[in-house]
């Protein structure tokens, strides 16, 4: 196998042509950059528009959900108020066999209302009274 031979000796030597102007190759890198920028801007614009629309749809969806939750909130408050209706509670209480006590029992709490006494002492006394209740 033989190596390729050098042809350097065959190439004509460079020479300066007097009076000739230098021909510049057009620099396409700027145009590529400009084109790229235009494409990016175009797609960016489309993307931002899509994002905007998408966000708007999300907002619309959220607003609809808020409205639904608000409705639900008021419906639940309504139901809660219904549940707390004294007439309904009275029926429930009766069904449980509960009734207002026929006789009233007074609790004698001597330490309550006497501010001069030590609060800890009053609290201990009160606890003792409360724990004695059936």
């Amino acid at each position: 196998m033989s190596l390729p031979q050098s042809h350097a000796g065959d190439r004509p030597s460079l020479e300066v042509i007097p009076g000739a102007t230098r021909k510049l190759r057009p620099k396409i890198s700027h145009w590529i950059l400009f084109g790229f920028a235009v494409i990016v801007a175009f797609f960016g614009l489309i993307y931002s528009r899509i994002s905007l629309d998408s966000s708007a749809f999300e907002i619309q969806e959220l607003e609809a959900q808020i409205a639904v939750q608000e409705d639900l909130h008021w419906q639940l408050r309504y139901e809660l108020a219904q549940i707390q209706d004294p007439a309904r509670l009275e029926i429930e209480i009766a069904q449980l066999g509960l009734e207002y006590p026929a006789e009233r029992i007074g609790l004698s709490v001597p330490v309550v209302g006497i501010d001069q006494l030590d609060p800890d002492y009053r609290w201990a006394q009160l606890k003792a009274i409360l724990s004695a209740q059936p």
Partner: protein, 613 residues
């Protein structure tokens, strides 16, 4: 072959050019017409097709009790609506929908069988569960239309839609129904009670929005523009205590059964601040039950009798006569004189007498009030004089509106003193005739005595809560009427009425209470005469009497019959027999609800004594 000359070719080019030029000129002209000359017209036409202005309904304000629990609230509930023009088989549609919405097949089919109409209700305000079932059925129908399940395809739900509509509901049914009132179902306009009186504030301000729709009428996404947001109505916080209101209503309803009364009214107020804790009238109604409203109107059940119905207060008005005499120093509780059995006044055929007293005797002012002596009270009035008597009646608020927060109130009637020309005018007024009052006015009157002589405006709305959270708090008017000392003396006398006098049935275990009974012949306006059979029985009391927390007015219209007591038969037409026990019942419950400790000695529980520990 003849080759075209340059001239011929030029001519063709020119001709084509001219045609194009003319076409462009035509297009340009039309564009100018559309864009400039008729731009406004076309824009308007386009907007008409695409844009719709819609009102945004403002949420109606909520009415709360004193603890912010809803008494009246608007909720959006789904309604099933239809476009009959799009329904091919109304009977089939009705058959599918009726079981889902709990309706009648024939009724729904009838409402859908109007092809000329573009709107019909299938069911109004369905429940959340029903909504889910209808939605599931509609989704299935949509899938059918899309061809995914062609076997089960049905056109039955074409033209059926759902939309949310506001509904005014009253969670506690008939609780304080006459106070709250009701609204028109369609536009939620207040018709009665607080709903009517505060309708403007509760309604709020509707908003506006612009919607863009495609040719099929479907809203274009992002094509919605809010022009003016809706402003929700003001919320009202009332002074009503639901528990006390319930007890009062129950007592009023039972009173009608037990005494045969045509109507019963109970008012409970807090004398210190004028708050109306309960205002019950029987018969009553349930504002949620629209079908019964007509019947309720006929029965007078919509009337808040505590403020709309006037009556002559009878003996309960003797407290003004006595308080005026004490306050002006004319008498003291111990001042006494001879009180005859019958007392003649010029111009009156029959003499004034006392019930169940046939002989004259020496009585003190305290005894006169305790025993509710007509003759003794008339004698006090004679010492007082018409002018001073009238002045005190006015100061106690008779013949005037108590305020402006109670719906449907009438001022009653207190004739000017110039009209007290007959000799009997002062005497009759002293014992509670010739004056028309409402139960609320009388409650406020006794509230003055309970509140150390200061009259406080009774009110039912404690604050208005605006959508921005700001609040208008009601500050009730106040005015001194009698001195603190007189008020205290009056409370002692009223306690005597319950402990030794006509109001013994008003006593409550554990509490010292005071009050006054009243029984008057019922005036029949249509006959211009007093009824021979019907009476107005009342009791107005204060509890506890030493440290008043509540004032309760009980008024019964025409109680009849008798009640067997331990050793006697008592007639229910007397306030002390029929109304006083109702006071006791309501007062006991109200004091318990308010957490007021007994002020009289109650049997202490020995096990609770700290010494035992």
């Amino acid at each position: 072959m003849l080759r075209p000359t340059w001239r011929t070719r030029d001519l063709r080019v020119v001709l084509v050019g001219v045609v194009f030029l003319l076409a462009w000129i035509g297009i340009g002209y039309r564009l100018f017409q559309v864009q400039v000359v008729e731009a406004a017209t076309f824009e308007a036409d386009g907007n008409d097709q695409r844009i719709r202005y819609e009102d945004i309904a403002a949420k109606r304000g909520t009415i709360y009790d004193r603890e912010y629990i809803e008494l009246a609230v608007s909720v959006d509930l789904p309604s099933v609506i239809a476009d009959p023009a799009l329904i091919a088989d109304p009977a089939e549609t009705a058959r599918v929908l009726a079981p889902l919405v709990g309706g009648n097949v024939a009724d729904i089919a009838e409402s859908l069988s109007r092809p000329d109409s573009r709107f019909a209700y299938v069911a109004k305000h369905i429940t959340i569960e029903q909504e889910k079932e209808v939605e599931a059925e509609m989704e299935l129908a949509a899938e059918c239309r899309s061809g995914d399940y062609p076997a089960s395809c049905s056109a039955a739900l074409d033209g059926i839609y759902m939309r949310n509509e506001p509904l005014r509901v009253y969670p506690s049914g008939d609780l304080a129904a006459q106070v709250l009132g009701l609204v028109q179902q369609d536009d939620q306009k207040g018709l009665e009670g607080l709903e009517a009186l505060y309708d403007e504030q509760l309604t709020g301000t509707p908003g506006t929005k612009v919607l863009e729709r495609d040719p099929a009428g479907i809203p274009i996404p992002l094509g919605e523009l809010l022009i003016e947001p809706a402003v929700a109505g003001v919320d009202l916080r009332t002074t009503i205590d639901r528990e006390i209101q319930h007890f009062a209503q129950q007592a009023a309803a039972d009173a009608m059964v037990d005494t045969g009364a045509k109507a019963a009214t109970i008012v409970v107020i807090s004398p210190r601040n004028g708050e109306i804790l309960a205002m019950a009238s029987a018969p009553t109604f349930d504002p949620n039950d629209r079908g019964s409203i007509g019947e309720a109107i006929e029965a007078g059940a919509l009337r808040n009798r505590a403020v709309t119905d006037v009556y002559e207060p009878g003996s309960t008005l003797k407290v003004v006569t006595v308080a005026a005499a004490l306050d002006s120093g004319i008498v003291t509780p111990q001042t006494g004189w001879w009180v005859p059995a019958a007392y003649e006044v010029e111009g009156k055929e029959d003499p004034y007498t006392d019930v169940k007293r046939e002989e004259g005797r020496q009585m003190s002012v305290a005894e006169i009030l305790t025993k509710s002596s007509n003759v003794g009270t008339i004698q006090i009035q004679e010492r007082l004089g018409n002018d001073l008597h009238h002045e005190y009646l006015e100061r106690f608020g008779l013949g005037q509106f108590t305020g402006d927060s109670v719906p449907g109130e009438v001022p009653g009637l207190l004739r000017p003193v110039n009209d007290w020309v007959s000799a009997t005018a002062g005497a009759s007024t002293a014992i509670g005739y010739r004056v028309d009052v409402t139960a609320l006015q009388m409650a406020a009157l006794f509230g003055t005595i309970a509140n150390d002589g200061v009259w406080v405006e009774p009110h039912i709305v404690s604050e208005m809560i605006h959508p921005d959270g700001s609040r208008d708090v009601t500050v009730p008017r106040q005015r001194p009427v009698i001195s603190e000392a007189t008020a205290r003396q009056m409370r002692e006398l009223l306690q005597g009425v319950v402990e030794q006098g006509t109001g013994r049935r008003a006593a409550i275990e554990g509490f010292a209470v005071g009050g006054k009974t009243g029984t008057t012949e019922k005036f029949l306006p249509e006959q211009g005469a007093y009824s021979e059979d019907d009476r107005i029985a009342s009791f107005i009391g204060i509890a506890p009497i030493d440290n008043p927390e509540i004032v309760i007015a009980v008024v019964l219209d025409s109680p009849h019959g008798e009640v067997q007591e331990e050793d006697q038969i008592a007639e229910l037409q007397f306030g002390g027999v029929s109304a006083a026990p109702i006071f006791a019942r309501v007062a006991r419950a109200a004091l318990q609800a308010l957490g007021v400790a007994p002020d009289l000695g109650v049997a202490p529980d020995p096990g609770a004594e700290p010494d035992d520990q």
